[in-house]
């Protein structure tokens, strides 16, 4: 935090040009950090302005996001718009990107000859800018930040650790190789403290007594063993603060007028919902015929060690089951079974290995199953009204083949 602040201060106060990259996994707070630093900086500059008026005539922060500006032309238009230079550019036609950018920066030179406005470029989703053609935008921005004309700072935010390998050689050489890494490096005790802080009500809450009661309850919860178990499980899975946030929202949404304080049971329920297997949920809603098809596919996978299968094979397997073992299942006709199979395709539980062409017959298209056999067995346990012979078929090995 202090590094970044220093960096930006140097640009604005001393007129130095700089560039930096902030790297960290998703949800580690890069954008929040940057906003925080910018807020601090603005407050500081207000102070400075009162003291020395000469220096800054205003600072422009174009904010670019890799998601929105998908190629360099769009990016340039956005820069023009954000710097509010549209009327200056007007009808001029530029030969190259570099000329365009240079012209823009020239236009920012205000009367004061000693300094023009320092510009801060913030590039969010930096890795997407790297995929533009020739990386012209990056090249030019870094070029300007190295040459001494206008004080420009370029800050990139990205979640890819290998971002430096993606930069071209000429771009990399102009980059100052300053990197700030943000990792979620807190341990479990701090995690619990964060949990408490997130859940407590701030001091400015209007109803004092309620706030007091709420905060006491939160303190109580953070010492409860079951709550700590829940948090421990989440902590082992991901240290990301966003998931903690989701979990807390789920728990707090159970709070109503009749149930004013969140309890440990709420948190447990929220954790269960949060970590439920979504594929198992989908399997729960399938019809019995579709479940039989999935079990047939599981057996095929076991026999052939995961080689892809087609509908004809699955149907064959299903027929074998009906003839030998089934009492509760009626022998459905082939088109009906085909319709059930296509429903599974639509839900993307089964995926074809290659796109279906008009030439090949549908029944012989090779597919693979996207469910694990343990997932299937678990889902069968909770499946409502499952006929017993189907369950036994699923659990059996192929010794009866």
């Amino acid at each position: 935090h202090s590094h970044l602040l220093e960096l930006l201060k140097r640009t604005t106060v001393h007129g130095e040009s700089n560039s930096a990259l902030i790297i960290g996994p998703r949800g580690s707070g890069k954008t929040t950090l940057l906003n925080h630093v910018l807020k601090d900086l603005r407050e500081m500059n207000q102070v400075r302005e009162n003291l020395l008026e000469v220096h800054l005539n205003g600072k422009k922060n174009p904010f670019l996001s890799g998601l929105l500006q998908t190629n360099d032309k769009v990016a340039l238009k956005e820069i023009t718009r954000q710097l509010q230079l549209e009327n200056v550019v007007g009808d001029k036609v530029f030969g190259s990107f570099a000329e365009n950018l240079a012209f823009l920066l020239e236009a920012l030179r205000r009367g004061n000859r000693s300094s023009s406005c320092p510009i801060l470029f913030v590039l969010d989703e930096f890795d997407l800018f790297v995929h533009h053609k020739n990386q012209t935008l990056l090249y030019n921005l870094f070029d300007i930040s190295q040459s001494a004309q206008t004080p420009v700072t370029v800050i990139g935010l990205t979640c890819r650790q290998d971002i430096l390998e993606l930069l071209e050689k000429r771009v990399k050489s102009r980059f100052s190789h300053r990197q700030i890494y943000l990792m979620n490096s807190f341990d479990f005790k701090e995690y619990i403290k964060i949990f408490k802080k997130q859940l407590s009500l701030p001091a400015e809450f209007p109803n004092e007594a309620f706030a007091q009661k709420w905060n006491n309850n939160v303190q109580h919860l953070s010492e409860d063993k079951t709550v700590q178990d829940v948090l421990q499980r989440l902590f082992h899975r991901t240290k990301d603060l966003r998931s903690l946030h989701l979990l807390l929202v789920l728990a707090v949404s159970a709070v109503t007028v009749h149930h004013p304080l969140p309890t440990a049971a709420d948190l447990q329920e929220a954790s269960r919902q949060h970590s439920s297997d979504s594929r198992a949920n989908i399997v729960h809603g399938l019809s019995v015929l579709e479940i039989c098809l999935i079990i047939a596919m599981k057996h095929l996978n076991e026999v052939y060690d995961g080689e892809p299968f087609n509908f004809q094979m699955v149907y064959n397997e299903f027929q074998k089951f009906i003839q030998r073992k089934a009492h509760s299942m009626y022998n459905f006709e082939k088109p009906v079974v085909m319709k059930a199979f296509e429903h599974l395709l639509q839900l993307e539980l089964v995926q074809p290995l290659e796109r279906p062409s008009a030439r090949a017959q549908r029944e012989f298209l090779l597919m693979k199953l996207l469910l694990d056999s343990s997932q299937i067995m678990e889902a069968l346990q909770v499946y409502p009204n499952c006929p017993t012979d189907v369950k036994q078929w699923a659990a059996s090995s192929l010794s009866w083949l």
């Binding site: 998703r26 929105l68 500006q69 998908t70 956005e78 979504s278 989908i282 019809s287 004809q312």
Partner: protein, 432 residues
């Protein structure tokens, strides 16, 4: 059953909402608690998944219109490119404000969209209420440009406004996630209806002439036949509506009264089984089905869609097709044995033993060269067949009918190779 309560919304609205969405109260109350009050910021993105016709679209629409929350509803299959999608959202936003200025909107990229969106929101009197953008069939978003999905998930952050994007889909979230990760939405599951729920919902549509019990018994029978195959609410509703007239026939004719369940069951049972093969598979349309019921026709008269694929072929074409089927499904080694008068013994090698399990019938047809086809043809047809242009043109017409398919390039030097694309049943009917 929990009553929907929320301090921000009037109780009358909530009661009406509850009556419109049976069996979905817990999901609606969860959604209400996430939405919060009108002006509160909610999650930037919510992802709702569940089975086909588990009520996701219906519940969202009813919720948003009953409580009159400002929303934009777009179907991603209807607007399948990014430009169509973005322009539709902006157009609906204009209509939302109630003013009649429908100026044509031109929006190509997400960049323009964000700018125009901010402008459109500024010109409306939403009083800081949350705007909901609902994208139905969101799995199509994956097929569009790669930046659309992550951008929509972060729309609240990118536009810095009070907006929430709701994605509805059948596919689970793990298949949506882009490779580099994205802003994770709040995922919610709409569980499928249990058999009790299905019964309750289906029984609500009973026609007023008959009692609710009578209709409930009918639904029971229907579910007993179809529940194992299909749990889709829409299909079951369709089937229930079509077959009810037949079910009531004995009562109308005076042969049985409403309580005679056994007679009604005997009457309706073969009918439902027939329905499974035809209407359920969409072989015949529902109007044809109704006409059939009125005439009381026999199953032989049913000309479903698959019946139309049985074409009448000329004499030599039938033999050609049978020869093609044999060529596709028998391995080359066995040709000598089957088709020559004096055959030698076939030595089973290790190769054959390993591959015995996967019989050719399961793997599909194999391609064969033209000469082999002609050779087999000569051996199955009794009289001598001259290789005239007639035969060759019949082969080409079989390809056009898609009963054979050509494998490989058109200008192969060794001669064209073909593959037979029909099933054994078809061959059997032809061979008769």
């Amino acid at each position: 059953m929990p009553n929907l309560e929320h301090p921000a919304y009037p109780a009358a609205d909530l009661a009406r909402l509850e009556s419109l969405v049976p069996c979905r109260e817990s999901q609606v109350s969860m959604l209400l608690s996430i939405f919060g009050e009108r002006q509160q910021f909610s999650f930037p993105s919510i992802f709702i998944y569940g089975h086909t016709s588990s009520g996701k679209t219906y519940v969202m629409q009813t919720l948003l219109t009953t409580l009159q929350l400002p929303h934009v509803f777009v179907n991603c299959v209807e607007h399948f490119t990014s430009r169509l999608l973005l322009e539709e959202i902006l157009i609906q936003l204009q209509n939302c404000s109630g003013t009649e200025q429908t100026s044509p909107v031109h929006c190509d990229t997400l960049n323009d969209f964000v700018r125009l969106f901010k402008q459109a929101l500024a010109s409306q009197e939403l009083q800081d209420q949350t705007l909901y953008i609902v994208l139905d069939r969101a799995e199509q978003l994956r097929e569009m440009e790669a930046n659309i999905l992550p951008a929509f998930l972060r729309l609240q952050e990118l536009t810095d406004r009070n907006v929430t994007v709701v994605l509805l889909s059948e596919i689970v979230w793990e298949l949506f996630r882009p490779n580099v990760g994205c802003f994770e939405p709040f995922t919610m599951y709409f569980p499928d209806y249990s058999i009790g729920h299905l019964q309750k919902i289906l029984s609500q549509n009973h026609p007023p002439e008959y009692s609710a019990d009578f209709y409930a018994a009918y639904i029971n029978i229907l579910l007993g036949v179809f529940y194992m195959v299909c749990r889709d609410l829409k299909e079951l509703q369709h089937l229930a509506a079509l077959n009810f007239a037949k079910y009531c026939e004995p009562v109308v004719r005076g042969e049985a009264n409403e309580r005679d369940t056994r007679k009604l069951w005997k009457n309706i049972e073969p009918h439902l089984k027939k329905a499974m093969q035809t209407v359920y598979l969409r072989e015949i349309s529902s109007s044809q089905w109704e006409r059939l019921q009125q005439d009381g026709g026999e199953p032989g008269q049913l000309k479903g869609l698959s019946a139309h694929t049985h074409v009448e072929l000329p004499y030599y074409s039938k033999f050609l097709l049978i020869a093609a089927y044999l060529a596709s499904y028998n391995p080359v080694r066995t040709d000598k044995r089957f088709f020559l008068k004096h055959h030698g013994k076939i030595r089973k090698t290790n190769f054959m033993k390993k591959h015995e399990k996967t019989s050719n019938h399961l793997l599909g047809p194999k391609p064969f060269p033209l000469d082999r086809l002609l050779a087999i043809l000569y051996s199955i047809v009794d009289n001598r067949v001259a290789p005239t242009a007639n035969i060759f043109s019949q082969i080409t017409s079989l390809v056009t009918l898609q009963l054979l398919s050509m494998v490989g390039q058109h200008d192969q030097l060794d001669g064209p190779r073909y593959k037979c694309t029909v099933s054994l049943d078809f061959i059997r009917t032809i061979a008769r």
